[in-house]
């Protein structure tokens, strides 16, 4: 019973993150990366299918807030256009967006927690 209750709580939390994450994604990210996550040419990299995302979770959690400049390689293609971060995002909001993008399209990574974001941000925030 307890295990069942726990799992329900986790599901609820996942759902909340996912739904809120989708709204935030539409608001802050989809203009460039597109609602379907396919990006645009070599200007805006795709998220729907992205080896970069899979291999660089911490960097992704960082760049949402702090931005990224210089070349990054996604699926073997070089992208090099500065993305400004959305500095106003809280750790919770970054976790929500991450939960959304990491569990949509080709991704199935499960919930990304606030603790994951806080930990990642300790490395990039200063």
């Amino acid at each position: 019973m307890q295990a069942c209750g726990l799992s329900t709580n986790r599901d609820t939390k996942f759902q909340q993150y996912y739904v809120k994450g989708e709204q935030l994604y539409i608001q802050h990210c989809s203009n460039c990366h597109q609602k379907d996550g396919r990006g645009l040419g070599l200007v805006y990299p795709p998220l729907a299918q992205s080896d970069y995302m899979t291999q660089n979770v911490d960097q992704v959690l960082c760049l949402m807030k702090y931005g990224v400049a210089g070349e990054i390689v996604v699926n073997g293609k070089a992208f090099n256009k500065e993305m400004k971060g959305v500095f106003s995002l809280t750790d919770l909001e970054v976790a929500e967006i991450a939960t959304y993008i990491y569990n949509t399209w080709e991704h199935n990574q499960g919930i990304i927690d606030i603790a994951d974001v806080t930990k990642a941000h300790q490395k990039c925030g200063n």
């Binding site: 203009n31 645009l40 070599l42």
Partner: protein, 216 residues
Amino acid sequence: MKFMKEMKLSFTSTINLFVTFSVLFLGACVNRDKPLPIFGERELVGADTVYHTIAPFQFVDQDSASVTNATFEDKIYVADFFFTSCRTICPIMKTQMVRVYEATKEMPDVLLLSHTIDPEYDTVALLHDFAERLGVESKRWHFVTGKKDSIYKIAQTSYFATAMEDKSEPDGFIHSGAFLLIDKKGRIRGKYDGTKEEEVNRLIVDIKKLRSTNGI
């Protein structure tokens, strides 16, 4: 179960009927439609009506080539205003303009013209990189830069599109997301919201329509 199946069948045939009628209706519509409107002030000079046309301009494109009204002589073109560092409506506009680019691939008399409204940042080199990254040809899609005043002035007075610097706005500019359809005589024949897919569908239909009357 049988009832359900019948329901489904009748539903399907209703849809078919609807589609058939829509196609017929749309077909009739295109044929019988009035010509595209001509935007802006007009005046009578003698017996002739003189329409608003795009004023003379001279900008530089992503290949450092000079782009003037002569570039668009005997061409239909679609114009817009944007800047590469914009994160608000421009990426959506560019996504939609790529659709126009794809849709007009087989139309040698149709060109695209995107003006940057942030010429200080959007240099020729940057526009070149941007166009290349979009994967588009410069002979069909010119990304131009020039004197800021000239760009803002032509936006306001020729294309009736808003473009100005405003530090209080996100990214520092306000501008309209409009796509303007210009005919072979330099007249505005349509204005579309470049951030809306349906509006851009209408633009693509209108381009075909304008071509059917030789672009005038």
